[in-house]
Symmetry: C2
Subunit: 330 residues, 2 copies
DNA sequence: TTGAAAGCGCTAACAT
DNA sequence: ATGTTAGCGCTTTCAA
């Protein structure tokens, strides 16, 4: 490695390193002539500034951390959410001269410690949380030390933080309404833990639609399942067998697929099913179902924009961004 | 933000910052007493060293870059390879006090430029390439400037670089042999581009097994497909319909699924199918097929180990690592 | 418009 | 065993 420094450039160009710095940062008043000379040398020597030196003197890192808690990993592996989000974020940030560091907290207890280390060592300028958790203490902490971060998924204290999300109440309402209009009345609801806002909100939208049509929902048909196929499958099968079910609303295509296979296994393909995420997995079941495209790219980019604004201390008019989701029928 | 520095700690502990530095780096001889005093202050003030300053004076970054070329993105999205690899790498590296930066080259032409920037700006100490490409000029360049990197997937110039891979020739041989032993003779081979070493090697192993049993392979049954279901599906269907096929060897579960659906559609489920990657997608087809678990975690970790050794200038006995894959039958 | 010089927070060689 | 000091490579004030 040659390791050209600003001094080499300065010497060769016959100027001071301050001038080179000015040309590099593309700012301050430098005469056109000087600029051209310096630029020529920079290009000849293929000079690229040492980032550690820049970071030290500017007290930043130009790195945004993407944080994933390991509890989220399993569901995400069955999903393109993770890859899509990371790719979208990194693509967006790199256009803005920021890099993305990826932190996977494989140990929930260590999360605070990890993040504290990152923040205090100034290794990152900001953070993006891939998910909202029930426990928001880490958000609270970061807010206290006024460290920039944004969250994908509306947090409980939505007014305090920067976040992006779909309107889950509305999308669930729309999906449910669609099924009701197809003469469905006897619903099962399958979702993840009710501790997750996403489950709560979709449940709310679901109930709203039923209320509007004066359909009442039997709480015994509310299934909170683990994110693996078998769990939802088994619970569901019991209910369907013994009851007059004609529709199954689920909060994830994974559940929807489980549901589809369950009803196929007992030849009840007349039952309507809906899911979320517009997963490519839908290709792998015979019977298609309703789903919702949550637009992960957009969520990722909006979250990046928000945290970047905060980092750059730009004015933030609205502390959140609602990304439109889309009902997919075929 | 308080931004405690080494000076604050030194002052408070009544020692010089050199001593604090020694305590931090946990090295040199510091008296037990002094160490305890300093450690107390460090913990009281919750001091964490500024990474930019450390990086600048040590001329490193403690960051390893994971590079993905966008050409690879599409196939990877249908796969857990990407998420699994990134998570395994980052988990391993963080235990070794390294961070992972993720670079997605959305523009192949810019790859060299991006990487050059990362390297020259000293933003990364090493790189891990998630895939091997036919064009190895970037590897060649990095080798010339002796910048540490490793590759997941055996490169053409295997002796020159650090890499990890499975023994694809052997695994393909094993799979094929297994099918032959089940009295299969008339094979179709479906793989990606023959420019990819992985395709070439699996094809070689496939042919080796056939040769051993004196079965000859009709080259017209060699399908090089794009990584989307339809492509393989259509080509395949034509061949199967008109010929006496009894087995389909494929280099990816995605292809295997396409194949399975194709043969199901014409009621030829008597045909044996094999794939690669032990994908969770297998759950979503009726008829199961043979597959190979390539052990992505291990590949990722071995690649991390190799590049880390290079970064730390440790002696590297063998420049590659062959990770055992596993034939999965049910 | 340009340069000199201080300083960012740390490490490491040297001295004691 | 500990302190002094000179960098690391940049940015940024201040002066000219």
């Amino acid at each position: 490695m040659s390791d050209i420094t600003i001094n080499d450039v300065a010497k060769r160009a016959g100027v001071s390193k301050a001038t080179v710095s000015r040309v590099i940062s593309n700012s301050s008043k430098v005469s056109k002539k000087t600029r051209e000379i310096v630029e020529k040398v920079v290009s000849d020597l293929n000079y690229i500034p040492n980032s550690a030196a820049q970071n030290l003197s500017q007290n930043n890192s130009r790195i945004i951390g993407i944080v994933l808690n390991s509890e989220d990993l399993n569901p995400l592996l069955n999903n393109t959410f993770f890859s899509t989000a990371i790719n979208a974020i990194s693509e967006f940030l790199i256009e803005n001269k920021y890099y993305t560091i990826y932190i996977h907290c494989n140990n929930s207890k260590k999360e605070k410690e990890y993040i504290d280390f990152l923040v205090k060592s100034r290794r990152v300028d900001g953070l993006i949380f891939l998910r909202n958790y029930d426990d928001e203490s880490i958000f609270n902490y970061l807010e206290e030390i006024s460290f920039p971060f944004s969250i994908i998924g509306k947090p409980n204290h939505a007014e305090k933080y920067l976040w992006v999300d779909n309107d889950n109440i509305k999308s669930a309402y729309d999906v449910t309404k669609k099924m009701i209009e197809q003469n469905r009345k006897n619903f099962i609801f399958i979702g993840g833990s009710m501790k997750l806002n996403v489950t709560k909100n979709r449940y709310t939208g679901f109930i709203n639609a039923l209320d509007e049509y004066n359909i009442k929902f039997n709480k015994e048909y509310l299934i909170n399942a683990k994110f693996n196929e078998k769990d939802a499958y088994n619970k569901l099968l019991n209910i369907v067998k013994q009851n007059n079910i004609d529709a199954i609303f689920t909060t994830d295509d994974i559940f929807a697929i489980a549901a589809t296979k369950a009803i196929e296994s007992i030849n009840r393909t007349d039952i309507k099913v809906s899911g979320y995420n517009n997963s490519f997995l839908r290709k792998y079941v015979e019977k298609d179902f309703l789903t919702v495209d949550i637009n992960v790219e957009k969520l990722a980019i909006e979250a990046s924009k928000l945290v970047l604004k905060k980092v750059k201390k730009e004015k933030i008019e609205i502390n959140y961004s609602i990304v439109k989701s889309k009902l997919i029928e075929k």
